[in-house]
Symmetry: C2
Subunit: 426 residues, 2 copies
């Protein structure tokens, strides 16, 4: 008999069906047995005649039986099965109780056994939402004339000037893992005008916090023939809205399980100049800030924007040159400032972007101003001799956005198998 | 005035429009000037009154003028413009002539200057087709209940047993770049049942041929609750057909430029047992073969299948255990053989797949039989204690498939910035 999914049971009430999945939970009352069967779409209670020995939890099983409405069953439906077939037995008890979903348990334990703790309904849900967000990202950009690109991850130098890189032994040469596709996506604007990439990036940052990963998924966008960075911010506003819509539509069950309602994205996200944001944080909120906004300042600003504008989103733009990378386009009308922006969501930076320098001489000058050696960027610089149009873009950290949207206590839960300072396995 | 794309010109005949793009080619006759403007969608001839100095080729430009039908213009349309605005000038002549599309030129030269040679209409087309193939891949699998996953690329050991790995310095630890997401996609079958990934993989293979890359894009699929590898082959047949359909629909112009008509995928791709394929190559085609089919044998087999079955596609399955990785499921009815397959297209392997071992003891035994130390695979082995269902999958090399479908002379042209034995830049 053709297998059906748990999510399709409501269309089969009174019929005989076959289900396959994992034995999520079991209770043996002798004359009658209850098990929960979990498949990729959900969990359902199965009632068995009893007598047989139930396999261990997490065994792969198949059951055939009749779909029956039941007030007592979770979800209002259960399956009365004749028996249970073990497709592949679990041979050991799981290291943690999967149905308990110990979200607030020690992350170290949950991550050590990630290969099996991820099976929990709530544990697996964030990655389903993330996949939907990424699908929304691609869908929107495909429709807007962007080309998906796949840039090299083994590179000769870092995009930001050579710090925080993981070294790779590339045959006889010394190479590094790319910390960003920045330089390549710019080159590809010269080819396809509008490009995006969804790919891992690496940062060899030593600190281990609940919001940092050493390997993460970067959603990169770059577009040519723009007037200024504000055009890029408008595109990002539409893009983020489309991503959240896709998640609402196609990860509805995962969101429900997590008890999350995704926030609306306003037609126009409020925009604050960096100087004004600093002033607000310092003078109105009484929090000390340096040249850039620190984490505490960003959080306070998020709360302020929520209060003042009634939204979780805010763009901060026109950052000073000193806190932005060398390729950032200066603001021609505001010496010392740049055409750059961050997008904050609930007080956390989820995106960094801006217009880029597109003239060769300006780039060489900027490298020098940033204390970098133009020789080290020779390959990158070359393309700017060939009519690079005004362009700009941004990058979204997928895990950080997922974490913040879903209110996860740790960014590691937004990645299948996170890599951090001490974690290389599983 | 709002910019339009070259591809939309036919809807604006007789109207005044603005175009932006690159100066693809120029000819100055004094009183009149002809330039070709190239944007992401195509190339059009622009006629200028003359007198002004034309910028260098590849400068970014903007023109405004009237769309006029013209028999002499390529494409049947040209734009009569008042003048030409330089958005960003090229400051040097390009190292090769972009409009010449020197496909058969020395690949070393083309790849050395890839950042600008990729701008050629034919040079950029393969990556547009590839993006469409990948879009088709995701679309089909999303609709079939698969979850997209993002697995770690920095790993402790190789999926195939530790050869051909690039070492990474991961803080104080020795790590490697993943040569395949194999082990992780299997673990994730235990979570989401059906998963796919589109991500780079790395092979530190020393040889440099026209069909090998040291960094390439792997399209990985893995599915649980299968009966045998033949179910996986059926899914792949449908999937490949959907990928080619997407490319035909959304990369139509790129395919036309390359003069390529994508081949049909038959409802059922012919299937040959490995032993039978070996026999055919040896006895009917008179080519010497070892235990496995070598490149020459595969090419001959491709031609044979074309002749005999009228298709470019053939599955070869049930390979001997000795030529497949340790995780391959043995064929229970055929000792020494496995439930594995390759998909050949025009005599080239574009996919390798099969059913995987899903029981802990079988895996430990297979590792030992393959001369591998189960201790080194401890993290991977653990999950097989928890009811891994029968499962299988495959991986498609995106560049190799693109190369072969488009008849490219070198697989490097199917990657934006290829990495090979000696190439780390651009």
């Amino acid at each position: 008999m053709q297998r059906i999914l748990v999510q399709d049971l409501p269309q089969h009430v009174g019929e005989r069906v076959t289900l396959m999945g994992w034995l999520h939970w079991r209770r043996d009352l002798g004359g009658i047995q209850f098990v929960l069967l979990r498949d990729r779409s959900g969990v359902v209670q199965v009632v068995l005649p009893g007598g047989g020995k139930l396999p261990l939890q997490e065994s792969s099983i198949r059951v055939t039986g009749t779909v029956v409405e039941s007030d007592k069953a979770p979800g209002g439906l259960e399956v009365h099965a004749e028996g249970l077939e073990v497709l592949s037995p679990a041979t050991a008890p799981t290291p943690v109780e999967i149905p308990k979903e110990e979200w607030r348990a020690n992350p170290e334990t949950l991550l050590e056994y990630r290969y099996v703790t991820l099976r929990g309904e709530k544990a697996r849900a964030p990655l389903q939402v993330q996949a939907a967000l990424v699908r929304g990202f691609r869908k929107y950009l495909d429709a807007a004339g962007f080309t998906e690109v796949y840039t090299p991850k083994i590179v000769q130098a870092g995009a930001e000037g050579g710090t925080n890189l993981f070294p790779v032994e590339y045959f006889e040469q010394r190479a590094y893992l790319a910390q960003s596709p920045q330089l390549y996506k710019q080159i590809l604007v010269g080819v396809y005008e509008r490009v995006y990439e969804v790919a891992p990036v690496w940062r060899a940052e030593e600190h281990a916090t609940s919001r940092h990963l050493n390997e993460y998924l970067s959603l990169d966008v770059e577009m040519g023939f723009i007037e200024s960075h504000e055009e890029v911010m408008r595109l990002e506003t539409e893009l983020i809205r489309a991503m959240l819509e896709e998640a609402r539509a196609s990860a509805e069950r995962a969101l429900r399980l997590l008890g999350v309602e995704l926030p609306p994205v306003p037609k126009e996200i409020p925009v604050l100049e960096h100087q004004e944001a600093r002033r607000i944080v310092k003078e109105e909120l009484g929090i000390g800030v340096g040249t850039d906004l620190n984490d505490e300042a960003e959080r306070a600003l998020g709360a302020y924007v929520r209060e003042r504008y009634g939204t979780d989103w805010v763009f901060v733009h026109r950052y000073p040159e000193s806190v932005r990378p060398f390729y950032t386009h200066p603001d021609p009308e505001r010496p010392g400032l740049t055409r750059s922006f961050d997008l904050l969501f609930r007080g956390l930076e989820v995106t960094s972007g801006g217009q880029r320098i597109h003239r060769y001489e300006d780039l060489v000058e900027s490298l020098q101003r940033h204390g970098l050696d133009p020789q080290a960027f020779r390959g990158y610089l070359e393309v700017f001799k060939y009519g690079m149009p005004p362009h700009g873009g941004f990058a979204i950290g997928a895990e950080r956005l997922t974490q913040k949207l879903l209110g996860l206590p740790n960014v590691r839960y937004a990645r299948a198998f996170p890599r951090d300072r001490h974690r290389l396995a599983p």
